[in-house]
């Protein structure tokens, strides 16, 4: 009886001690700043495969450094940067003015570094006869004005339109550059994704659904394209040449739906964060970009 009472009394004490230790650990981690040997990278789902490879290599060369990469989406990364929850924000879109204002209000000064480029590929099921689309056709598909493949030269079948959800930088970039046709005479910033578009929580899920669903269309980054899906050539207008997304067409600027992959830090990076970014931008780091399937920075 006596022992069991003691045991029951010890339990809350142990729980409290553990909680206190965990809390102390957390505050120590966030409080130490530049001298810490751990880097947190949060942001774009698209940049994640690349950052993970860089992080692994950098940790191999510097065993004392630990780098944690997570990819909930560019918006989430920028939100984390503004809230001071991350050292580096990886993003597949440029930061918005409203976000810069929010950051400044919290004393955070976003500093932009381009680390690679990406082409957004448009993919279909291999059995789909459609091989090229104009930006206007893509816009009409993604606003649900065109709902059947026969309207763009394909089979008489409904179009299953897949997109990333609002957490993703890809979502915002595709909306501005394709749905709203930025840079074209037909540009219309009032256009939004149609209400029958399926918003998916990850890029992999979209690619695997396209590989299985003969009527689906999706827009993954170059790094996510597999051999189970078919790439579509993109034309600016019906009279322009159609161009396939590839490292070459993204680099020479002929491919239309290309974008920079960015790192944002709070102010100019210093210390260990600078060392890591320098590695990413080095020839060795840029080689990895090609390996992962993205486009390295032009030399």
């Amino acid at each position: 009886m006596h022992i069991s009472i003691k045991k029951w009394f010890m339990l809350p004490v142990v729980v409290m001690l553990v909680t206190a230790l965990v809390l102390a650990g957390c505050s120590a981690e966030t409080g130490s700043g530049g001298l810490s040997d751990s880097i947190k990278i949060i942001g774009s789902n698209t940049v994640t495969p690349l950052s993970s490879v860089w992080a692994e290599d950098f940790m191999k060369a510097n065993p004392k450094v630990s780098i944690a990469v997570s990819g909930p989406g560019s918006g989430a990364g920028i939100a984390a940067l503004i809230d001071g929850m991350t050292d580096i924000c990886q993003s597949s879109r440029t930061i918005k003015q409203s976000e810069i204002d929010q950051a400044k209000a919290k004393g955070v000064n976003p500093y932009e570094i381009q680390v690679a480029s990406d082409g957004l590929s448009v993919v279909l099921h291999p059995s789909n006869p459609v091989s090229e689309l104009t930006i206007a056709q893509l816009s009409a598909i993604y606003t649900n004005q065109i709902t059947n493949w026969k309207e763009v030269g394909g089979n008489d079948a409904p179009i299953v339109v897949l997109s990333r959800d609002t957490n993703s930088g890809t979502h915002v970039f595709f909306k501005e550059h394709v749905v709203q046709m930025a840079g074209l005479p037909t540009q219309n910033t009032k256009l939004e994704y149609g209400s029958n578009v399926l918003f998916l929580p990850s890029t992999e899920q979209g690619v695997s659904e396209v590989a299985r669903n003969s009527n689906a269309i999706f827009y993954p980054g170059l790094g996510y394209v597999t051999s189970q899906v078919k790439l579509v050539k993109i034309k600016k207008t019906a009279s322009d040449p159609s161009i396939l997304s590839s490292e070459k067409t993204v680099l020479d600027g002929t491919y239309l739906i290309a974008r920079p992959l960015l790192f944002y830090t709070n102010g100019v990076p210093t210390g260990i964060i600078k060392a890591f970014i320098d590695y990413c931008l080095s020839p060795e780091g840029q080689n990895k970009v090609t390996e992962v399937g993205y486009v390295p920075l032009a030399k």
Partner: protein, 305 residues
């Protein structure tokens, strides 16, 4: 003699002391639960209510356009609200007959050996992480639903409902089986003595007698279905249209919160709107619980009278 009574005294005192510690601890634990609940309500109100300053509650609830990252953003959650209702009701409609039937079989019909092996296995189902259920829905169920119903895509409310019904089944079976098992044997014996068959006994005696427990089971299952997030995020499709049939892609409220919260800046408009969805979700589950309480109360009175 004196020494012996002394130790007895001190033992008693120590026990009393221990008792007080435990009482105090339990009191604190109870208090903590209430404090946490009040804290959650307070945070939901604090973060969520300002959203109604930007979008009036009426427009928020019945608006059909949800464009949180546009300039200017629009927040209308009718599509999510309808999706949640549709998916939850369908999941409950599938899970309740199967769950209660299974419980009745286990409690009244199955030999005790079968019951003792099957029940723990069903309860084990409850422990499967929801992301695993999501994967099963993604890989196995959605292609199946797509080919059976000749749909454009297998990501739809129906797929989500079936997965949710599978997830709420263990709770419904386990709790209703306990309730049925607790029905006094005299009730059944009396029914058999009047010449009732086994089916008549289950249908007219056991289930009505255990109805309060079964209702509690159904409500627990319903609560699980309303609140489940990961699975519906993965298989429900995520379309923004107001769904008119369960075989359309849709976004329930929980999935809408999950797919937007990562992007939202703390204190921003979208953040507040997502908390407002959370607030409405909370009010819905509260309403379910209140209704359940009323039903149980009435049931008890009926049996007492």
């Amino acid at each position: 003699m004196v020494a012996a009574s002394d130790t007895e005294e001190s033992l008693k005192r120590r026990l009393r002391l221990g008792e007080r510690f435990i009482e105090g601890w339990i009191f604190l634990a109870g208090l903590l639960a209430i404090v946490v609940l009040l804290g959650i309500v307070a945070i939901l109100l604090k973060e969520g209510l300002p959203a109604f300053g930007y979008t009036p509650p009426w427009e928020f609830l019945f608006g059909t356009k949800w464009y949180p990252v546009s300039e200017p953003p629009t927040f209308g959650i009718l599509p999510f609200f309808v999706s949640t209702l549709m998916i939850t009701l369908l999941a409950t409609a599938v899970a309740v007959p199967i769950g209660v039937g299974c419980a009745a079989y286990l409690a009244e019909v199955a030999p005790s050996k079968v019951r003792e092996t099957v029940k723990p296995i069903i309860e084990l189902l409850a422990g499967i992480p929801s992301v695993m259920m999501g994967f099963i829905g993604l890989m196995l169920l959605s292609p199946l639903v797509q080919s059976i119903f000749h749909l454009n895509t297998g990501f739809c409310g129906l797929t989500a409902s079936i997965m949710l019904s599978l997830m709420s089944l263990p709770i419904i079976v386990s709790v209703s089986e306990d309730a049925l098992h607790a029905v006094p044997n005299e009730f059944k014996e009396a029914a058999y003595a009047l010449g009732a068959t086994q089916w008549e006994t289950i249908r007219h005696v056991c289930i009505p007698a255990a109805l309060s427990g079964i209702t509690a089971a159904i409500m627990l299952g319903l609560g699980r279905a309303i609140g489940e997030t990961m699975t519906v995020l993965m298989v429900a499709g995520g379309a923004l249209a107001v769904p008119v049939s369960p075989v359309e892609p849709m976004t329930p409220m929980t999935a809408a919160i999950a797919s937007g919260i990562g992007n939202a800046v703390r204190g921003g408009l979208q953040y507040q709107a997502l908390f407002a969805i959370g607030l409405i979700l909370f009010i819905m589950t509260l309403a379910v619980n209140l209704v359940a309480e009323r039903v149980l109360e009435r049931q008890k009175r009926k049996f007492a009278g």
